[in-house]
């Protein structure tokens, strides 16, 4: 592999992109999904994440043009130069131009938009060409490559990770939940009696903690992956009590006993664990049952036995007038909550093998489900 001279790279891990115009060869939504799929190729092996802007200036601007199109590299009609892209940087840097004179397709005839986009997006992230024929970043288009079974070559992965490092969760032993008989202590995800120790979001993903393990539900893999907690955060204990994500701090706070830790991605923040009493809990509280932070109000709810406290993330202070009884403000929710998750505008309270979907507006339980329904059981 090679990087552009000077190895330019993005100094942030979350990038925006925008499709400025569309080729008449394909339906718009197919172009959008091809671009999204091409980005996921790089997202899967780096800490990078991407979001699409419907308008305005994005880091990666994507357009179709023919012939002379405003830069010093006019396209050349059908064939030969299919597209080009610029290395990371402001303005036209980081942009992708597709030659409109090509016949863009999503199959193996013509020029497959997904394959070319994945290559060009490699350039926008800082990769130059590779001289390995099996590499995506090899300059000559490979018509025999099957777009439906596409995989980055090790050369591509080595190249992009030389710029951005691996995906935060990579390198862990993903214990396959189907192909081998699980070791005795690995909890079976579809065990009807399965309960969770804690549940949290993490940068758009869901984490379900149980004993020494967690299941991870990510955006690009509908199948939950089971991992050792220690594979991500070696210094964290197992058999956790509670966990929640404070979006405004891009941190997940993890509780066990009278201690709590803060993690950002795969990093445990320095200065932790701290005592839960620094949050304002009275000495009588010996452990937290469950916690959840409301993304909209930036208020965090801590559940202990039949009571709950409310914490202000902005002021980093416990609100006055607490604790209150859970049943007074969350009618239908039993005490001793195992875990709480906020999703789709609801709060999901986990008790043993069941979960209650609570509508905070209607202030009532709207559904009762199996706890492991999130794990495709």
């Amino acid at each position: 592999f090679s990087t552009f001279p000077g190895s330019p790279k993005w100094r942030k891990t979350h990038l925006t992109y925008r499709v400025e115009n569309y080729t008449p060869d394909l339906p718009r939504e197919r172009v959008d999904s091809a671009i999204e799929k091409a980005l996921k190729v790089w997202e899967a092996v780096t800490p990078l994440t991407f979001s699409r802007l419907p308008e305005g200036e994005a880091d990666i601007m994507i357009s179709f043009a023919a012939g002379e199109h405003g830069d010093f590299y006019p396209f050349d009609g059908l064939g030969q130069s299919l597209a080009h892209a610029y290395p990371p940087g402001p303005g036209f840097y980081g942009d992708v131009h597709f030659d409109e004179d090509e016949k863009w397709t999503l199959g193996s005839s013509g020029t497959n938009l997904f394959l070319v986009a994945a290559h060009e997006l490699g350039h926008t992230l800082g990769l130059f060409h590779s001289d390995k024929k099996e590499a995506l970043m090899y300059p000559v288009y490979n018509f025999s490559r099957n777009p439906t079974q596409f995989q980055l070559s090790q050369d591509d992965i080595d190249g992009i990770q030389s710029l951005y490092g691996p995906h935060p969760y990579s390198g862990v032993s993903v214990v396959p939940t189907t192909s081998v008989s699980p070791r005795p202590e690995i909890p079976t995800k579809c065990d009807p009696s399965l309960s969770f120790d804690a549940v949290s979001t993490l940068r758009g993903e869901l984490l379900f903690f149980k004993d020494r393990y967690l299941w991870r539900l990510s955006r690009w893999n509908p199948e939950p992956e089971v991992h050792l907690i220690s594979a991500f955060w070696p210094s964290l204990p197992s058999h956790l009590d509670a966990a929640y994500e404070a979006n405004s701090k891009d941190s997940v706070f993890i509780f066990k006993g009278t201690q709590f830790w803060a993690v950002q991605g795969s990093e445990v923040q320095a200065g932790y664990p701290k005592s839960i009493y620094t949050l304002g809990f009275p000495p009588a509280v010996r452990k937290i049952d469950a916690a959840v932070s409301d993304k909209d109000t930036k208020k965090t709810y801590f559940f202990v036995d039949d009571q709950y406290w409310r914490f202000d993330e902005k002021r980093w202070l416990m609100d006055k007038g607490f604790p209150r009884l859970i049943k007074d403000d969350f009618p239908g929710i039993e005490p001793q909550v195992d875990a709480v998750l906020q999703a789709f505008g609801f709060f999901y309270f986990f008790h043993g093998s069941s979960q209650s979907e609570f509508d905070p507006n209607a202030r009532m339980v709207t559904h009762t489900l199996k706890s492991n329904s999130w794990l495709l059981c």
């Binding site: 396209f75 030969q80 597209a83 080009h84 350039h123």
Partner: protein, 82 residues
């Protein structure tokens, strides 16, 4: 039978190859003039540099294998250089 005064037309591959090397392998202006004398070492070196990168036998000549790969659709970003 060479026609008197006829301007000898380079075979299309010569112009094409020259353009390809300029665009993707940084063939410099001064080397361009020498392009017609295929045996000139800077151009041979450039052709060999390209053949090496693309995984071709480094003959230093625009043989058919080399021309075949050069004619294939590709990315417009150069293979070497700034």
């Amino acid at each position: 039978y060479p026609l008197q005064g006829a301007v000898r037309q380079d075979p299309p591959s010569m112009d094409f190859a020259q353009h390809y090397l300029e665009k993707y392998y940084n063939l410099e202006k001064n080397e361009k003039q020498m392009f017609r004398r295929k045996e000139s070492s800077p151009v041979v070196k450039k052709i060999q540099e390209m053949q090496k990168f693309l995984g071709l036998e480094m003959t230093g000549k625009l043989d058919s294998n080399t021309m075949d790969v050069m004619l294939k659709p590709r990315c417009g970003v150069p293979d070497v250089g700034g």
